[in-house]
């Protein structure tokens, strides 16, 4: 840790005098992406990727002091060169590269190495120190390709239609929802919950093209929805709105659905392992590609992943952070958001 330190408020760059995704309010926050556990309320000044700017304003407040820049556009802050690289996690997600006196540290934020149809694909960045997430840091996690997922989701919808059922997908309103929209694009009309609709408006408002959707209002006409596709935030599982949807077949889209126990726990009709985080091979590939001398492992399976890295002769340390230990934790955040 040449020029950063891990503090109670978050990861701090000493010469740069700024924080990366801090979890308590600070003067200067550089934000990797728009999810609530990374982009928090109360900072005096924000810096993020161009595509995240509108999302942060929508989520935190229109009046925040915020600046944005593109990928690969370095900016000097107190002698530290800061630049963003695509993280492939959601729209606008960035790895944050810091260079000071020739020494490079990269903070991954959340990332996914497999390309999807909607976010800019992950790009590995060479560095001396790499701070990586480890949400799915166990070798049992192995994602299908986007094309396979597309076929899987679309087949499910078509099969539901044959059985006269309405396909309801549950996924986070930012990121997952837009990815599902893209995966089922062209099959039939897609209806979305207001939380998702708000993000859709924000995203397309900043010039990014996403598939067309219709807002599902609480008093929707059942006839119009029958046999169509609906996307709702996971917190709406068991809600009145979901119960009103005629002949609903429900599916959760989350990396956790890779394990049967998780699929069965939720009591839904299907579970699809659509993850915005890297799988085991993705994590390993990413770490190796950085050629980092030291790796810090944050949220997820940090104990397992860092132990394994050390065994394959990559120096690794665990790091305790306040980022979502469990993707499900985001549901609580969502609840307050949609309330």
């Amino acid at each position: 840790m040449k020029f950063i330190k891990f503090t109670k408020k978050g990861i701090y760059c000493i010469p740069g005098k700024f924080y990366l995704d801090p979890w308590f309010p600070v003067d200067y926050a550089i934000i990797s992406h728009g999810h609530a556990d990374h982009a928090r309320w109360g900072n005096k000044y924000y810096l993020c990727h161009n595509d995240s700017k509108a999302i942060l304003k929508h989520r935190i407040g229109q009046d925040i002091s915020i600046e944005s820049m593109g990928y690969n556009e370095p900016k000097m802050i107190n002698g530290v060169q800061v630049s963003f690289y695509p993280a492939g996690h959601i729209i606008g997600s960035a790895q944050i590269r810091l260079e000071y006196k020739g020494y490079v540290i990269v903070f991954s934020g959340d990332y996914k190495t497999q390309p999807d149809f909607i976010s800019v694909p992950f790009e590995p960045v060479k560095c001396n120190e790499f701070i990586t997430e480890s949400t799915f840091g166990l070798p049992v996690y192995k994602w299908k390709s986007e094309l396979d997922l597309q076929a899987e989701l679309q087949n499910w919808v078509l099969q539901n239609q044959q059985n006269n059922r309405t396909s309801v997908f549950l996924g986070y309103s930012l990121g997952k929802a837009q990815r599902i929209m893209k995966l089922v694009e062209g099959v039939d009309d897609v209806y979305v919950h207001s939380a998702i609709n708000n993000f859709n408006k924000t995203i397309s408002g900043s010039g990014i093209t996403i598939p067309e959707t219709t807002l599902i209002k609480p008093d929707f006409d059942k006839k119009n929805i029958q046999n169509k596709i609906v996307i709702l935030p996971p917190a709406l599982l068991g809600s009145k709105l979901l119960k009103r949807i005629p002949n609903a077949a429900t599916a959760i889209c989350s990396g956790w659905m890779h394990i049967r126990g998780n699929r069965r726990w939720k009591g839904v009709d299907a579970g699809f392992a659509v993850s915005d985080h890297a799988d085991w091979d993705g994590l390993l590939e990413a770490v190796k590609a950085t050629e980092a001398e030291k790796v810090y492992v944050t949220h997820g399976s940090q104990a397992v992943f860092s132990k394994y890295l050390n065994e394959i002769c990559i120096e690794a340390h665990e790091l305790k952070t306040e980022y979502g230990e469990d993707e499900l934790a985001k549901q609580d955040i969502l609840k307050t958001e949609t309330a």
């Binding site: 166990l138 070798p139 049992v140 996690y141 192995k142 956790w256 890779h258 394990i259 049967r260 126990g261 998780n262 699929r263 069965r264 726990w265 009591g267 839904v268 009709d269 299907a270 579970g271 104990a303 397992v304 132990k307 394994y308 065994e311 230990e325 469990d326 499900l328 934790a329």
Partner: protein
Amino acid sequence: MKDFSNLISAIEITNKTNAKIEALVNYFKTAPDKDKLWLIALFTGKRSSRPVKSNLMKGWVMEITQLPEWLFLESYSSVGDLGETIALLLPNPENKIEKPLNVWIDELINLKSETDEEKKAYVLNAWNGLKAQERLIFNKLIGGSFRIGVSKKTLVNALEKLSGIDANQLMHSIIGNWTPDTITFDELLSGEHINYDNSKPYPFCLAYALEKDLEDLGNENDWQVEYKWDGIRGQIIKREDEVFIWSRGEELVTQQFPEIVEAVSQLQGSFVIDGEILAIKDSTVLLFNDLQKRLNRKNVTKKLLEEVPVGLYIYDILEIDGIDLREKSMAVRRLKLETLFKQNKSDMLKLSEVINFKSWNELDDLRNAARSFNSEGLMLKKKSSIYHVGRKKGDWWKWKVDPLTIDAVMIYAQKGSGRRSSKYTDYTFAVQNDDNLVTVAKAYSGLTDKEITEISRWVNKNAIEKFGPVRTVKPELVFEIAFEGIAYSKRHKSGVALRFPRMKRWRKDKTLKDIDTIQTVKALIEVN
């Protein structure tokens, strides 16, 4: 095997019984005869011993994936199922093998006699030709156990829907003596191999929990009061010297209780009786926990028979010498029952005792004393009541003892199995002993799914260990633990043993300093 694999996926994902039945019916409509028979065999626990040891399979996976053993085990403890862990760890298949279920099963049966090298070649080839979900099924076929939430009753209901044949007859058919090689699907359903007339059960008469004051039940003389027992409610049928035992869940459990079958066979005449199967040792009724060791076993070993002997407490009689008695009054049926057992004395079979009492106010003390001999409380039955079909309010009431409770703190958490394998569901609780904590109970039931999810998340954040299945947690979460009884015990460090502990409530309003001490817990023994 694709269809079978799809069926399993469809059954697993839902917790709605109707959806499971629907999936089964669809499978039965299209699958080949042999596959259908094997499915019934697998789901009813007719299985042969495993052809390949799980340790061998684990070794091959580690060899293929080049993963260290600790990481294999870490994966296993996260997934919670060995067959699934293996299916997920292996690299994607390079080939595609499609064979019907019965061919796979035949091959696996033949595999048993081959060498380890031959087994390895066969299994690796299969793994490399099957997708993850089919691989999981293949691994389960090797293991032979399909615990996927399909009870015999669900299976039978699906077969009834398919064929229109009475469910109880189907239950007898599938449990009867048959093998997939010696019968066709239609023969099995038609029940040619059984004599259903002899085994045909009656629906059970059930009681509601008492919801009014005893005084409001009217005259004491109109009621028959018995102890309530917590075992397996059973209907025992003896017709033409054949004996059958049906459980309350309408499963035929005859084979599980050979000593009862033996004792009933000794009796004269034909009859149908209703009673409670209990673990009874030295004339003392044991706990349901003990009886549980006897349940759902394929073979009841001699050792088990000695360890947990069972007996029957008889409540009622529904038929004698072919005559249906259910429309007769309780009082009349009781007399018939007493007459039958006056002629037939048996240690194994005892009439449920009718409690003598004069006034309602005597009963509360009797109810609370019931705990001391492992009775659950009292049953109140109207002497004029007929033997109803199912639950009917007013004639039969159950009046259970109130559970004992203590407040204890969670100190360990462990993941569950099956549906619960993704969550920390099994907890160990402690109470205060001077400055230390001492373990008093393990419990895994009583919470809602939502609470379990919340606790699992908390465990993830507050666990002290990083590896392995058991997590030591900060003593912080306080629960009200309910239990049916308490006794001194030398086997437990705390010196006490609780009966049926379960979580009554998560006391979010309490902290570590509010929990019970071992002294207050022991004091409960003196009072009860």
